[in-house]
Amino acid sequence: MVVDVKTRETSEVETEQLATGCEAIAEAIRLADVDVMAAYPIRPYDGVMQAAAKLIANGKMDVEYIVADGEHSQFEIVKHACAVGSRVFVGSSGVGWFYAFEAIAVTAGLRLPVVAICGNRALDDPGAFGTEHNDSLAVRDLGWLLPWAETAQEALDLALMAWRVGEDRRVSLPVAIGLDGAFLTHSQHIVKIPTQAAVQRFLPKFDLGDRLLHPDNPITIAPQVDQDWLMEIRRQNDHAMRQALGVIREAHADFKTIFGRGGDSPFLDEFMTEDAEVVVIGQGTLSLPMKVAIRRLRKEGHKVGLVRLKWFRPFPTEEVVRSLGRFKAIGVVDRDYSFGSPFYGGVLYNEIRSALYSQASRPAIVGFIAGLGGREIEQPMATEIFEKTEAAARTGLPAGDVCHWIGVRE
């Protein structure tokens, strides 16, 4: 529920409300005039569906709200609604996300700009509700755009960006916004809620054009192409993903003009990096404990900072290389695992290493697996992460690359 404790006009373009990450997304659904959404219960993402249901029940928005019989149906329903021209919203978490996997995979292949949230959650068994990024990351190769939000404000803003970028003809790809379970889905923040008029200036109407499935446009979608054409079609997806970088930059610039938010870079959020020698990079709400640690460590004379990655797909290689190339050592914190991967590192660790491989001067990179299953990253853990990264800065590239599990009972 959006609590109206502080509803007041802050400018002609917005009001302020106290809202959780989920409630902020529900507001974005209303503002974007979504046509069809499909719900199925699983924690923690379903807070969005609960918040949206209230908005509908209270006459605040007009959306076909379909309670599906499972996540596979959920994602299939919106996929097909999208093909006839509806703006759509869907979401899931953890094992629910995996139950929908077939539909998730084909949505990208069909180039349908479905917007979803993944309320990041551990893949139980064994039972766990807490945040872990492996659900979102499982789709990283399939053609979904994957931004991660840090705050409820950013969740709302990214959702509006998601429809704008995903529906752009140059992209036409689905988007799944990562929201750390509990830490963001269910924690309240002050959120600036834009006015409908301002959103309309930012977000054009959805138009599938000649790809609309309609009797006036009798096309056949997804025929059997086999080896004759599949490679060319995959190549088009690749092209769309490349185009997405520029479209995100454009959308980010427009967003800043209209709403005055979004930071300098659409892709990276840097904290105390100007004179930093050592930085940590990660996604989502990881930044919160890290910022606390950085302030503390700086008082003790450590030149440390944080780079938060906002878009994992498309991976902003250029920006990442330019930013990270400045530092002596980088600690990559993964809230995920990739068992048996190179150096037994997390997914982000190996992507960052890969991005920096061809650079003339390469910082030392240390991998950290932390905060799995929603475990809090406490200050001693944050300190340990920085200490180990600083040590790598002193000794240069370690002989054997290393990944550390942080805060784990051995």
């Binding site: 046509d35 019989d69 329903i77 097909h80 609604a81 021209g85 309609h214």
Partner: protein, 348 residues
């Protein structure tokens, strides 16, 4: 120009529309009755139709890139997603028309699936769709009694004892598959009281089938039509006998034709004649012996098959439709004068 979207009942073969909306370009086997169902389906629904098709022969053999046979807009859906495809498409059209984002007009939505896609994998989604009474869409299950496209594997719709690539007849086991076929239209009719139309048809009775499609689309809400489709490859017979096998399935009482309209069941075609005693059911052996998939049957297998089919006509509450009844001592229950609650209170 106003487009005529009314779908009146077809009075006879001469009344069937000439317009073909499923044309050449497909690569289905000779004698494929499922392909004929596709043709009849869109002939009946007309050009203002969107068709969604699940994975299976009617996708893979039908939509080679550049040679689509579909004149109407067509989109693939996943094997178990016909119900969701119908629902999502219908919901999308409805909301876009309500919000004025799309011209308000009648557009038929039909999602088809095979027996594998509809009776096994996608049954849950079809069931869910049949409860969403605010959306107009038809799910058509074309039942060729196997996972045909993947090389004829048994599904829950494969008849008792039939040979498939997952149920070969061997030296040790004559019958690998001994489950009785699910009663899908009966189950869906019994379980979805708000679906206004659920029917069982067969392309061998083409006008009857087209009228069932039309009635489903005219009544609206989520509806369901199930067809039994002889498949020369899977059933192992010469393609020229497809229509004959369709007739035999009905005449032997194995595949009853009926429709459930707003909760009222009408038997149709020869099924009605059999039920009324105007036509004698043929023995199942006439059907079984025409197909290679039953070639390994010995007398006892045929007897079992016959006995099970007999039960459909002797024991079931509605022959071929509702597979249970009340005990013999309670037969009177079926005839009592039943009143709604408010009338009972008045008279009490």
């Amino acid at each position: 120009m106003a487009i005529d979207t009314a779908l009146p009942q077809i009075k006879g073969v001469k009344d069937v529309p000439y317009e073909e909306l499923f044309v050449s370009g497909h690569r289905t086997c000779q004698g494929c009755e499922s392909a004929l169902v596709m043709r009849h389906m869109v002939k009946a629904s007309g050009p203002r139709t969107i068709v969604l098709g699940s994975t299976g022969c009617m996708y893979v053999a039908n939509t080679t890139y550049y040679t689509t046979p579909w004149v109407v807009p067509w989109m693939h859906t996943q094997l178990g997603a016909s119900g969701s495809a119908a629902l999502g498409t219908a919901a999308g059209l409805k909301v876009l028309m309500r919000k004025g984002k799309l011209k308000n007009e009648k557009i038929n939505v039909i999602a088809f699936c095979g027996d594998g896609g509809g009776a096994d994998m996608g049954l849950g989604a079809i069931s869910a769709t049949l409860t969403h009474k605010e959306y107009d869409c038809l799910v058509l299950l074309y039942d060729n009694e196997s996972y045909a496209n993947t090389d004829i594997q048994l599904s829950s719709m494969t008849p008792y004892g039939a040979v498939t690539t997952f149920s070969p007849s061997g030296e040790k086991k004559r019958l690998m598959h001994t489950r009785w076929k699910k009663n899908v239209p009966g189950m869906l009719a019994a379980g979805h009281p708000e679906s206004r139309y659920i029917a069982a048809g067969c392309a061998a009775y083409a006008v009857d089938l087209m009228n069932k499609i039309r009635r489903a689309l005219e009544l609206g809400g989520p509806t369901f039509v199930h067809t039994l489709d002889p498949c020369p490859k899977g059933w192992d017979y010469h393609p020229q006998y497809s229509q004959e096998l369709g007739h035999l399935a009905v005449e032997c009482g194995i595949w009853p034709l009926y429709e459930v309209v707003d909760g009222v069941c009408n038997l149709t075609g020869p099924t009605r004649q059999i039920a009324e005693g105007r036509k004698k059911r043929k023995p199942v052996i006439e059907y079984l012996r025409r197909q290679g998939r039953f070639a390994h049957f010995v007398d006892e297998d045929v007897e079992h098959f016959q006995a099970e089919v007999d039960k459909m006509w002797t024991d079931w509450l509605i022959p071929g439709v509702i597979p249970f009844t009340v005990p013999a001592k309670d037969q009177a229950l079926l005839k009592i004068d039943r009143k709604p609650l408010h009338e009972q209170t008045k008279s009490a």
